[in-house]
């Protein structure tokens, strides 16, 4: 073999390398998801939504109420509950207005209004003596009388928050302040926001009610040095428990019986303690409405109208 043939051989080697080396690798694409109108999981029991008016931010709300939902789910196999938070009062009220949730714990005013949207009041939270509004100020604010709030801003979670807005407003108005003229009302969405606005100095006073106030201080003990409860309102009946009218009566009965007996066992007590409630208790819708309306009448008389619900969407 001569030199020429050797060179040709090597050239062939290099070319083959280039040819084989440049072959495009092939790839395979797995199948995309398959959708259907029905769940692949067999539905054995119905699932209901359980909503509570926005006492806390949604994360903390889930922390304290999810155990309650788990407790119910654990003790019944006829339906399941799903907890649903609301980012503000308006959203919560819309859920009632639109009948989105099956079970709810609205404040007394919302409870009464929910009847118009096809809900029934089947119970309420206990501890009526703790259902009152409190007005928080900074300790260094030198606010000693209601008149000191004149020409200042007061924070409220929502206009429809009964204990945290309507009752404090009534109190202030009763004590000589003209809410409409003398103060600027700031509706900040949640109970914590109402308090934090005071701490940050954005508002002179903030309104809330005991359970969120106590939870707030537990989470921020340093606030004790800065904030103080300057006034508290007279108490009223506590938040109601409402159920959508299309929920089977048996399921309502199961739910209420579980709720009303929670305070009788340790597991239930621990859950209620977290909610800062001693018990859930039954009440006749008529009685509930009557007690709430007593205040509503006074309120309307003082302010001329009641606040609208569920405006914001």
């Amino acid at each position: 073999m001569n030199h020429q043939s050797t060179v040709q051989t090597y050239v062939a080697l290099v070319v083959s390398v280039l040819i084989f080396g440049c072959t495009k690798p092939s790839g395979s694409v797995p199948g995309t998801p398959i959708y259907g109108n029905e769940s692949a999981f067999r539905k054995s029991v119905p699932q209901y939504t359980f909503a509570v008016h926005p006492l806390h931010n949604s994360q903390y709300f889930f922390e304290v109420y999810q155990p309650l939902i788990s407790y119910i789910n654990k003790h019944t196999d006829e339906f399941t509950l799903r907890l649903e938070a609301s980012k503000d009062y308006a959203q919560f009220e819309n859920k009632l207005n639109d009948r989105i949730v099956e079970f709810a714990v609205p404040n007394p005013y919302q409870s009464v209004l929910s009847i118009e949207h096809g809900y029934s009041i089947v119970g309420k939270m206990g501890d009526d003596d703790r259902f009152y509004g409190i007005i928080v100020v900074r300790k260094d604010s030198r606010i000693t009388s209601v008149n000191d709030l004149r020409n200042s801003t007061i924070s409220f979670p929502s206009a429809t928050a009964l204990a945290a807005a309507m009752m404090p407003k009534y109190f202030l108005q009763s004590n000589g302040l003209n809410i409409a003229k003398d103060v600027n009302c700031s509706y900040v969405g949640t109970q914590e926001s109402s308090i934090m606005n005071v701490y940050l100095g954005k508002t002179k006073a903030g309104c809330t009610w005991p359970p969120p106030w106590e939870s707030f201080l537990e989470a921020h003990p340093e606030m004790n040095d800065a904030l103080t409860v300057q006034w508290r309102t007279e108490p009223l009946i506590n938040n109601g428990l409402v159920v959508r009218n299309d929920v089977p009566a048996r399921h309502t009965e199961i739910l209420t019986s579980l709720l009303y007996s929670m305070h009788t066992n340790d597991e239930g007590k621990a859950i209620l303690k977290k909610i800062k409630l001693s018990r859930y208790e039954p009440i006749a819708q008529k009685e509930y409405v009557s007690r709430v309306n007593t205040f509503m009448v006074k309120y309307r008389k003082m302010f001329g109208s009641l606040p609208e619900t569920g405006r914001k969407k």
């Binding site: 790839g27 999981f41 949604s58 907890l83 980012k87």
Partner: protein
């Protein structure tokens, strides 16, 4: 088939192999590299994509939680849409825990349920991040949305990875191109490499071919320096050596051939198997007249005579047998061989047996030498010996002519021959000896020795035996002779005679004995000497040491020292090295001092005296350790005494030949000169006070003449700076530098004399005090009687009696006497005092007006009193008297001019030195601690020293009319109160009296302090109020109000006390009611102090000012409340309630 083809194509030549190899290696390595890189890139991108998807999914899951909690699906969809704007997401969705699509990038899918197996596996599986599927172009991941322990739903994201895949394909293509380039470059490189390598290999091949043809000398050209080049070089070197060896072999062969051919001896090799000579050297022709070829063709039997053949045959068989056993010998035989001319030659034949490996036969290697002539010579020698016997008589005469003795005896010991010198030496005639026993010529003591010698001769025939024998001297005594006995035997070996050859060694023996005696004598001298004697080599070998060295260095024997060598004994080896250096330079060393170590490591100081002879050190060693120790002790003593003298507190000087020759440090210090040189050489007298000089000169004479120490005497010295001091001088005769001298010890007693004077003064005053006290006591009693009786007489006399005036005068005189007695008692320190705790400041302030009016109008009284109370113990009346006395004295000292008397009170802690000054005595009894300092100063005339010394004397006065005991009483009072006094006075400038009295803390608790300062007691605190007001009535009224309101209270009428009370009890005090206007500190200043203690102190200011005025005055230090004076019970209690709320 393929292998054959491949080998044919690529393996035929090294060049092809090399190029193919490099190309294949590049192909394989680069392929692996590119493949690995691509796979890794793919894995990296996939992992990155998974991480990225996981990260994004978790973020999205976290963000969507809030929407799920509140079931805000619209918000969730908005969030998802926002998320989809991110690159690389193919589609994404949020599904509920049941698989319902809550939001989706394709909104038409919302509300549908996932039903494929992959999704169902996700929904029913673990609540954790998972990769549902992944290919090169897309990755499908799922992230759970968990709230507490609840599963809210899943986020599912499918990312498009096509961009990554494009990147991987690009990398792969680049890798293939790099592979092709690498193969081409490698092939070219291999081709170039093969060109050089093959060229060198060709040269190597040619060289190997030439070597095969024995062409050793032609070298291979080396054109490269690589391994083949090295092989070529090694090949060249090997060829060169082979050529050299071949040449050497040729030379060696030629040499041996020439040697064999030209040797006079015949070299031959005989094959015992064929019985033929294999080789015979050409010299055979000289031996036997035959040529080598002829000799080799000759039969062996014909090559030797018949007798020799027989001999050779006899010995050969045994030798072959011995060789077969493995023994190897050289054999020497003498045989006779025939020559060509018919004659024979005697041949000495040396031979050795060996086996021919080729034939297997035993061969004999031999050298034959013609010894015919030697044999003929031996024969001739024998003939000559016979002729020698003939000349025996001649030898005899020769024997007789020597100085040595030659005798022979037969075996019985009878003389058979004696030579002339023997006969002459020992005084015998020949006939008296011949045939006689040899014993007659030997001293009896040596007969046995002689016989034993003969026996030894017989036992060793032919061997001379030496012996020393004494032989009688005809002149008396004996000769010492030295003999050699030899046994003479006949030809059959039978002993015939004993031949004795001797000589006289008497004189040599005497010399030797003398030498031995001398040597012993010196040896004893050396051995028993206390001086060490030694002999060593420079290198350190000990040749000799005597016992003294062993003793000095505590070794058990001299052998031990010799074994150890000298080096171990030197403490400092450099001393020996230096000594050897000196020895080499000078040949000897004298008194060279070194430190040796004993066997037990003790130091020995020795002195060497050594002479160097060649390499030998001969020397002596003297132990001077004791002497050194003694010297050290002397030196130590000297230093000790020098130290004592130098550090003596007394000045010491040596005075010799009319001048100072030595002074110690204290002397330099005492005389106030800078150095000893200023004193040395001067006369002592020059320092003596002129008034004392004659006395001192007389004393010096007495010491010098009498030679005994003189007792101490007080003198005065005038120092270098001119000051005169009192000294006590002692003079002691001594010797200094072998000259008589006087040691003068001087002690400065100036201070002592001053102290002595002070002690005398104090003692005098104490005596006076005792005297005054005694007189006053007794006189007081008498005065009491006198005053009592005069009072009685005054009452008994009728009014208007003339005597009443006299009695009044007497009574007035007695009153003055009573005052005087009181002063005398005060001076003696025995007065009746009412000692109690008093505030000196308050006391002086209380009487300051009184003091002022006591001074004349031209004198002003200035007071500088501490703002704080200054408590001391004492009688207030006495203290007042002290101050009054001093102030009045000050005023009088000023006289008629304008002047100032000042009084000040402060407190301080005096030092020990100050205490001594105040106590006026060294080691005063004044105790350490804080003192109140009372100073009364004037700028009057002052006092001279004389006055100052007497100022405390009773009844001493500089005034025309004295007023009694005066300052002496002051001194007595101060002394009685454990105090002290200092007077500083300068003429025309004034006088200052400084009095100290021990400072005390008021006894008891705050209650006592309060009592002293007007503070009211407090109740046990509950709600405790501190009242600070300088108005006592106001305080009491306030307390009544507080008690009516069930408040506990504490109070102070001094604001400083109030602050102190608050400082100590602030935790128990709830509020302070504070007056604004107070003398020391106003309300604002008090609040500042209180807030320093407790910033949160609650204070109510009480004042007659209006609230506005007070707040203006308070500035930043606002009180918690204000109450206007006067206030009612209701006002105060209500305000308190408010403040305390």
């Amino acid at each position: 088939m393929m292998a054959t083809l491949f080998t044919k194509l690529f393996g035929r030549t090294i060049r092809r192999q090399l190029i193919t190899g490099v190309a294949l290696v590049h192909l394989i390595l680069m392929s692996i590299f590119v493949y690995d890189m691509t796979v890794r890139q793919q894995m990296f991108l996939l992992e990155k994509s998974i991480d990225d998807a996981q990260y994004r999914g978790k973020i999205f899951a976290f963000t969507s939680k809030e929407f799920l909690r509140t079931n805000d699906l619209a918000g969730l969809q908005e969030l998802l849409n926002a998320y989809l704007q991110d690159h690389g997401v193919e589609y994404a969705m949020v599904v509920s825990a049941e698989g319902k699509v809550l939001s989706h990038s394709d909104e038409s899918k919302r509300g549908l349920f996932l039903r494929d197996s992959l999704s169902l596996a996700m929904l029913s599986g673990q609540r954790e991040f998972r990769v549902l599927s992944s290919t090169n172009s897309r990755i499908d991941v799922a992230v759970p949305i968990i709230e507490g322990e609840s599963l809210l739903g899943w986020v599912r994201i499918v990312n498009d990875l096509s961009a990554d895949q494009t990147q991987i394909e690009y990398v792969s293509r680049q890798g293939v191109i790099y592979t092709a380039i690498a193969i081409i470059v490698g092939t070219l490189f291999a081709f170039g490499l093969s060109l050089t390598m093959l060229r060198q290999l060709r040269h190597l091949l040619n060289g190997a071919t030439r070597a095969g043809n024995h062409q050793w000398n032609e070298k291979i050209p080396v054109i490269t320096e690589n391994e083949i080049g090295s092989v070529s070089k090694a090949f060249n070197l090997a060829m060169e050596k082979i050529a050299q060896q071949e040449e050497a072999l040729c030379e060696s062969e030629t040499t041996y051939r020439l040697m064999a051919e030209n040797a006079s001896d015949v070299i031959w090799i005989f094959d015992t198997g064929t019985r033929q000579f294999r080789y015979i050297s050409p010299s055979i022709v000289r031996l036997r007249g035959l040529s080598a070829e002829e000799a080799m063709q000759e039969r062996f039997e014909d090559s030797v005579t018949a007798e020799s053949l027989q001999y050779v045959e006899d010995v050969s068989s045994s030798r072959i047998e011995s060789f077969n056993k493995g023994e190897s010998h050289f054999y020497t035989d003498i045989i006779e061989q025939p020559c060509r001319n018919g004659s024979t030659v005697w041949v000495e034949m040396e031979s050795r047996y060996d086996r021919n490996e080729r034939t297997g036969h035993i061969e004999i290697f031999g050298i034959s030498r013609n010894i015919t002539q030697r044999r003929n010579a031996e024969r001739a020698l024998r003939e000559s010996e016979e002729q020698l016997l003939v000349s025996n008589s001649y030898l005899l005469s020769l024997v007789n002519s020597t100085s040595s003795y030659l005798v022979r005896t037969d075996m019985r010991g009878k003389y058979t021959y004696v030579n002339e010198p023997f006969i002459k030496k020992f005084g015998f005639r020949l006939d008296e000896l011949m045939g006689k026993d040899a014993a007659i010529t030997v001293c009896e003591e040596d007969l046995e020795l002689m016989n034993e010698t003969v026996v030894h001769c017989v036992q060793q025939p032919g061997v001379p035996v030496s012996v020393e024998l004494r032989k009688p001297n005809p002149a008396g005594g004996f000769f010492i002779t030295e003999w050699e006995f030899t046994l003479i035997s006949d030809a059959g070996g039978v002993p015939q005679e004993v031949q004795c050859v001797g000589r006289d060694i008497t004189e040599r023996r005497f010399i030797e004995k003398a030498l031995i005696d001398s040597e012993r004598k010196y040896r004893n001298l050396v051995e028993f000497s206390s001086v060490g004697v030694f002999q060593t080599t420079v290198s350190g070998e000990v040749l000799y040491v005597n016992n003294a060295i062993a003793d000095i260095l505590e070794y058990d024997s001299t052998e031990e020292i010799r074994a150890l060598g000298p080096f171990i004994m030197y403490k400092y080896l450099h001393q020996r090295e230096e000594m050897v250096r000196l020895l080499r330079a000078n040949g000897n060393v004298k008194n060279y001092e070194v430190t040796l170590l004993t066997k037990h490591h003790q130091e020995r100081f020795v002195v060497f005296n050594i002479v160097l002879s060649g390499d030998i050190l001969d020397g002596t060693l003297i132990d001077i350790s004791e002497r050194k120790r003694a010297e050290d002790a002397v030196r130590e003593n000297e230093e000790k005494y020098r130290g004592l003298v130098e550090n003596s507190p007394d000045a010491i000087a040596i005075y010799s030949e009319g001048r100072i020759v030595f002074v110690n440090n204290q002397c330099i210090s005492l005389m106030r000169v800078k150095s000893a040189e200023e004193l040395i050489g001067r006369s002592v007298i020059s320092f003596v006070h002129p008034e004392d000089r004659s006395r001192v000169i007389e004393r010096m004479k007495n010491v010098a003449v009498g030679g005994v120490p003189l007792p101490s005497e007080q003198e005065r010295f005038v120092l270098a700076d001119g000051e005169t001091i009192d000294v006590e001088v002692k003079a002691i005769p001594t010797v200094f530098d072998n000259n008589p001298a006087i040691q003068i010890i001087v002690r400065d007693i100036t201070e002592r004399k001053k102290n002595d004077q002070i002690i005398l003064d104090v003692q005098r005053r104490e005596s006076l005090g005792v005297l005054a006290g005694g007189i006053a006591h007794d006189f007081n009693n008498l005065l009491g009687v006198m005053m009592g009786n005069i009072s009685l007489a005054q009452h008994r006399l009728p009014p208007g009696d003339m005597a009443l005036k006299n009695i009044e005068r007497a009574k007035a005189a007695m009153d003055r006497a009573a005052i005087l007695v009181k002063q005398m008692l005060a001076y003696s320190g025995k007065g009746k005092f009412q000692i109690r705790e008093i505030d000196l400041v308050a006391l002086i302030k209380e009487h300051i007006d009184f003091f002022e009016v006591s001074l004349p109008k031209n004198v002003r009284l200035d007071s500088m009193l501490s703002s704080k109370p200054t408590y001391v113990k004492g009688d207030p009346a006495q203290i007042e008297q002290i101050v009054m006395n001093l102030i009045i004295n000050g005023g009088e000292a000023i006289g008629v001019k304008q002047g100032v008397v000042s009084i000040s009170i402060s407190s301080f802690v005096p030092t020990e030195e100050e205490l001594n000054e105040f106590g006026a005595l060294p080691n005063s009894v004044l105790k350490k601690g804080p003192y109140a300092l009372l100073k009364v100063a004037d700028n009057g005339e002052g006092m001279n020293d004389e006055t100052r010394k007497k100022i405390f004397d009773p009844f001493f006065t500089t005034k025309f009319v004295g007023r009694g005991l005066g300052l002496s009483a002051v001194l007595g009072i101060i002394r009685a109160n454990d105090g002290g006094i200092i007077i500083e006075s300068e003429e025309r400038k004034g006088t200052t009296f400084s009095i100290i009295l021990p400072l005390i803390h008021p006894t008891g608790t705050d209650a006592s302090l309060s009592a002293a300062l007007g503070v009211l007691p407090a109740k046990a605190p509950e709600t405790n109020i501190l009242v600070i007001d300088d108005e006592r009535d106001v305080v009491e009224m306030t307390i009544d109000i507080l008690e009516s309101g069930s408040y506990s209270h504490t109070s102070a009428i001094d604001p400083e006390i109030g602050i102190r009370i608050y400082q100590e009890h602030c935790s128990a005090i709830d509020a302070v009611i504070l007056d604004f206007s107070m003398p020391k500190l106003n309300g604002k200043e008090v609040i500042i102090e209180l807030r320093k203690i407790n910033p949160n102190v609650r204070v109510i200011i009480a004042s007659g000012y209006t609230e506005e005025e007070i707040f203006k005055l308070m500035g930043d230090e606002m009180p918690n409340a204000f109450i206007a004076k006067p206030y009612t019970q209701k006002d105060l209690l209500e305000l308190l309630k408010k403040v305390l709320k």
